[in-house]
């Protein structure tokens, strides 16, 4: 035992003999179990369950009016699902800040198949997708993201054409 306490200069003092004992074991273990139980509590109700992803809700009056074969978003659905947030940020920068760079303000969006849209969340996106609770919120809640667009951008009310 003492051999191990040697280096090239000689031996150290012998290792002190301390009694090995787990003090207050039952309190610590009880505390640990309570702590783990509390941490696990939120997860327990969902153990083994699969939460199905939300269904896309497209039954708004404006979409229903469009013929079945013409029902397409400004970009392909898969692309929109992955990139709509980046597209909205680009629209925002182009509408609000493009003049800072000397470029004219850009408010028109041309889709790959040549259709033209006003770059506006309230007046273009929410025109078709007027069911914000079902279309936007449902999915945002599912993936636990909290976009703050709707703090300012209006989600309901009359249309721009009526207000003029």
């Amino acid at each position: 035992m003492d051999d191990k306490y040697k280096n090239e200069f000689g031996a150290f003092a012998p290792r002190p003999q301390v009694e090995k004992k787990f003090y207050d074991g039952k309190y610590i273990l009880a505390g640990l179990i309570i702590f783990l139980a509390m941490v696990a509590l939120p997860f327990l109700p969902n153990v083994g369950k699969t939460i199905p992803p939300p269904e896309r809700q497209l039954d708004t009056p404006v979409i229903k009016k469009i013929a079945e074969k013409d029902r397409k978003c400004i970009m392909p659905t898969e692309w929109m699902r992955a990139n709509h947030m980046q597209m909205l940020v680009d629209w925002r920068d182009n509408v609000v800040r493009s003049d800072e760079k000397g470029a004219p303000e850009v408010r028109e969006f041309v889709s790959p198949d040549g259709r033209k849209f006003l770059a506006s969340l309230t007046n273009t996106c929410l025109d078709c997708h007027s069911n914000k609770e079902k279309f936007c919120d449902q999915c945002h809640n599912y993936v636990a993201v909290v976009p703050n667009c709707f703090g300012c951008h209006l989600q309901e009310g009359k249309k721009l054409a009526e207000a003029k």
């Binding site: 003049d99 969006f109 790959p112 007046n123 951008h153 721009l160 207000a163």
Partner: protein, 269 residues
């Protein structure tokens, strides 16, 4: 057998050439973008130095009120004194303090603080219509730590509410009191929300934008449109514009010129 010096220099030179020309070569071979493109709206008004002329000879209280109402409507400016729901009623003193102003009237002595003894007494009793001066040398832009407020090439001092952190440096910087802070959610105090412009959130500063969003659609600012010729909006850089002709013809004053911000709202008195 290894590579000799001559061969090494030749290969690295070629590689460097390819590296420099690579992107250009790609663009030559595949011109244009496959992605969807954004374009400016057709018929947008463009100018080099937008300015406003307020013809105080024609101005009266009713016209001023018409301009204010038109602006407040199309920009969803809240009226904290008249909530939609009576339970949101504010203490009058608080409502006064929270007021959001884009365009408003003020007595001569409050609008033009420096003593202009040369002006007739009639002018000194007028109520002036005030708005953001869209200065050439805007102090609000200089102090903004996030570039949320910025000066566009056409002279408009615009706000990007997305970037405003609500520090209110710009309000301290602006010598014209043209900026207002949103002390609370404005939505319960907007009578008739207008879909063409967003509302604001608690914690951002806002001000007149010379109706940048209307100019992009080819429309004159809402106040100029509602004023029936009392407010004239136009490009100072254009010799034939009405603002230039009015300023040539009549004597005009501006607010607090001595501060050197070069305000671009002119008052014909």
């Amino acid at each position: 057998m290894g590579i000799d010096r001559r061969e090494f220099i030749r290969i690295s030179g070629l590689a460097a050439l390819l590296g420099l020309g690579g992107k250009g070569a790609f663009e030559l071979l595949r011109p244009g973008q496959v992605e969807a493109a954004l374009k400016p709206e057709a018929g947008a008004l463009s100018g080099k130095r937008w300015a406003m002329v307020v013809n105080m000879q024609k101005m009266d209280e009713a016209t001023a009120q018409k301009c204010i109402n038109a602006c407040n409507r199309v920009h969803n400016v809240p009226d904290f004194k008249n909530p939609n729901d009576p339970k949101n009623k504010l203490d009058p003193e608080i409502a006064n303090r929270y007021e959001v102003k884009w365009i408003w009237t003020e007595h001569y002595h409050n609008a033009f603080v420096e003593d202009q003894t040369n002006l007739p007494d009639k002018v000194k009793q007028m109520a002036f219509l005030l708005l953001c001066n869209h200065c050439d040398n805007p102090p609000c832009v200089r102090v903004c730590p996030t570039k949320a407020t910025f000066r566009r090439d056409d002279g408009i001092v615009n706000m990007d509410m997305h970037r405003c952190i609500g520090c209110r440096f710009c309000m301290a910087g602006c010598p014209f009191g043209a900026r207002s802070f949103n002390w609370r959610d404005p939505r319960p105090y907007i009578k008739d929300t207008y879909p063409g412009y967003p509302t604001r959130e608690i914690g951002v500063v806002e001000k007149c934008t010379f109706c940048a969003e209307r100019l992009a659609q080819g429309l004159a600012p809402a106040c100029a449109e509602a004023s029936g010729g009392t407010l004239i909006f136009g490009d100072l850089n254009d010799e034939k514009s009405q603002v230039r002709r009015m300023l040539q013809k009549y004597f005009s004053i501006r607010r607090k010129v001595h501060l050197g911000t070069n305000p671009q709202v002119y008052y014909i008195v």
